[in-house]
């Protein structure tokens, strides 16, 4: 089932009397989620991603725009008639019911022609439980489960009624780091197996990048960029997106374009064409640095972090916006650093130039 958001807006009226402006949680959001895809809504807290999710599931009604599931306009449909499954951030499992009763709950709500017999319900519940691999926990109470197990029960409960759309609100944020990695793969697998169009919300870019087919980077209620994770990472449209994606984060310098050269501070790092002379921000991904004794970018070495597979060189540069410049290079190419200065060349594909005022991407060609 594809989902279409058409000029979707949600404005929360300001309730304080101080005459502050209304809060625009979602602002004119247009987006089509293709059938069977896993979509990650990504953004810092307060960017409107959870509101967008609530609008899709119907717990909140939009102040403008329309929502379509396939060809059905569901904008004014209450959540119970939308056929969505929602997994809450803290799971919202009914604590007084056993795992099995929790999973059965949505099925027992069915009425009329959809009504199932007891054995059909049980079969469906078992199937859903099997999908998330919690078959052996059916008689337990939620309080007797670990966080990861509760998460699975919540997913099973959302899946058991075969929703048209599966929605997950910060599905991994309550899990510890190890479990998060595991559950992430699990989510991906479940989504692949069921082929249900899935939307999930996260503030963790790594999470979003690793499992999404499509990510939507949001800021202040606006979708800044929509695309495949790698494409968005390799081609950010503005400084915000470039800064938000990537771990460790992108290094940002102030610089300028002058006479066919891209300057970081006083260092001319690239010869470029197709750009007018202007003040810019230059973003360089940590993996975009190459150690080069004669390289144009001169940094002051702070320390070296050896991580096994690769080496992080922490240095400082006068033009850097961040306090440190972090570059990641292969362990093989690392050497003993004896001098206080470390010099880099940069990989053009990992260098992004942004207009200093608008912070929009400025495209250039390498000469």
């Amino acid at each position: 089932m594809k989902v279409v958001l058409q000029n979707l807006s949600k404005v929360f009226p300001n309730r304080s009397k101080k005459g502050l402006a209304d809060v625009i949680a979602v602002n004119d959001f247009t987006f089509e989620i293709p059938d069977g895809k896993l979509v990650g809504l990504l953004g810092p807290s307060g960017c409107g991603k959870s509101t967008t999710l609530n609008l899709i599931c119907g717990l909140q009604t939009p102040t403008g725009g329309k929502i379509f599931f396939g060809d059905d306009d569901v904008t004014n449909l209450p959540p119970e008639n939308r056929g969505v499954g929602l997994v809450f951030q803290n799971y919202a499992l009914y604590p007084h019911l056993s795992v099995q009763q929790n999973i059965l709950f949505p099925l027992q709500n069915l009425k009329g022609a959809d009504k199932l017999s007891k054995s059909e319900m049980l079969a469906k519940a078992r199937e859903a439980a099997g999908l998330v691999q919690i078959d052996e926990l059916m008689s337990r109470k939620p309080s007797e489960l670990s966080g990861g197990q509760q998460q699975r029960v919540a997913i099973a409960r959302a899946l058991v009624k075969m929703p048209r759309i599966l929605l997950l609100d910060e599905p991994l944020s309550n899990l510890d780091a190890r479990l998060r990695l595991q559950t992430r793969e699990e989510l991906r697998r479940i989504q692949r197996e069921t082929r249900i169009t899935t939307v999930f919300v996260t503030h963790d870019q790594e999470e979003a990048m690793s499992i999404s087919d499509i990510i939507v980077v949001m800021r202040s209620g606006v979708a800044e960029q929509i695309g495949e994770p790698q494409e968005v990472y390799d081609n950010p449209v503005n400084l915000f997106v470039a800064k938000f994606l990537g771990s460790p984060p992108i290094n940002v310098f102030s610089g300028k374009v002058a006479d066919g050269s891209l300057f970081i501070g006083e260092d001319a790092v690239l010869n470029i064409s197709g750009v007018q002379n202007q003040e810019v921000f230059v973003g360089v991904r940590p993996e975009g640095f190459v150690l080069d004794k004669a390289g144009p970018l001169r940094c002051k070495l702070s320390r070296v972090e050896v991580m096994g597979r690769d080496v992080s060189i922490i240095s400082t540069h006068g033009a850097s916006v961040n306090p440190i410049v972090r570059s990641i290079i292969n362990a093989e190419s690392a050497e003993n650093f004896s001098t206080a200065e470390v010099r880099f060349a940069v990989k053009p594909a990992k260098v992004f130039v942004f207009n200093k005022e608008t912070e929009e991407r400025v495209f250039f060609e390498v000469r």
């Binding site: 119970e80 008639n81 803290n90 919202a92 009624k161």
Partner: protein, 296 residues
């Protein structure tokens, strides 16, 4: 016993002393009196020891009347007051506007003096030479004939007593239940809503289990409170409750101690022990039933 244990007892001492003096000792004392025939508190004498006090009390028509009244009161007021309080609280909880105002209004009777409420009930129900009372005016308006609720037929008096009791205990229950309802995480309701749960099912399958500990507390205290009812009856029917056929078990005990028929502490003790046994039994049954239905 090691030192740490001694320290623990030291901490418990104030409570143990207090409960010992004011609860355990009187309880044991009353138990002893109930077997001492014709005990006289002034001379501290009695005739003999035996179960005669119980036999007398259990054959006393006034006591049987009191037991009957008390049981009717319990059976009617406990479920009705709890049920109505639940309805009112659920209503209050779903009202968004003026929620606080309504809560205050519903709580007002709690801070009103029992006797003042009794006076209001008199005005509503009492039939005098000059007026039939407000309720009778309504009854007559709809073509019925007036009833003397305060000194008329038994069922009318019992109706007023139950009405009054429910009215008096309601505010506390509403207060407890509204806060219990408000403390249910709204996420559960959202989850139920997304799953297409009907309002009724949400209430019975989610709300009720979530507030069940509070509900159970209210039912237990309501049972105990109704079994110990006395002042309500006095407020409505005056102190001569036996004559009004409206006596309760506690009223009977009081009468045996101080009332018109006063001066029989042995009979009072026996009646008190009978009441204790009844309340204890009911509470135990309640606890057993609750284990099945209460979710903590």
């Amino acid at each position: 016993m090691d030192k740490r244990n001694n320290k623990g007892w030291l901490f418990l001492l104030p409570a143990v002393l207090f409960l010992g003096f004011f609860m355990v000792y009187p309880l044991v004392d009353v138990f002893i009196y109930s077997f001492e025939e014709g005990y006289n508190s002034a001379s501290q004498t009695f005739f003999g020891v035996g179960a005669y006090n119980y036999s007398y009390v259990l054959h006393d028509p006034y006591f049987l009347q009191a037991v009957k009244n008390t049981f009717i009161l319990v059976i009617i007021t406990v479920p009705v007051s709890t049920g109505v309080a639940l309805l009112i609280s659920a209503g209050l909880n779903s009202v968004k506007k003026l929620n606080k105002l309504f809560q205050t209004i519903y709580f007002l009777p709690y801070v009103t003096n029992t006797l003042a409420v009794g006076l209001v009930f008199m005005i509503l129900f009492k039939k005098t030479a000059y007026s039939d009372g407000l309720i009778n005016l309504f009854i007559e308006l709809f073509g019925g004939s007036s009833v003397d609720f305060i000194s008329g037929p038994y069922w009318a008096k019992m109706f007023v007593l139950c009405f009054y009791t429910i009215w008096v205990v309601m505010p506390f229950k509403v207060l407890i239940l509204t806060s219990a309802l408000a403390s249910v995480n709204p996420q559960y309701y959202n989850a139920a809503k997304v799953d297409g749960t009907s309002k009724l099912r949400t209430f019975t399958k989610i709300t009720l289990p979530m507030i069940s500990p509070m509900l159970f507390y209210l039912i237990i205290t309501a049972f105990i409170g109704a079994f110990k009812a006395y002042s309500d009856a006095v407020a409505l029917f005056g102190t001569d409750l036996n004559a009004a056929e409206m006596n309760t078990i506690v009223g009977y005990i009081y009468d045996m101690l101080y009332g018109n028929s006063g001066g029989y502490p042995s009979f009072a003790s026996a009646a008190a022990i009978v009441l204790l046994v009844i309340v204890l039994t009911i509470t135990c049954i309640n606890s057993l039933i609750s284990k099945k239905y209460i979710y903590y």
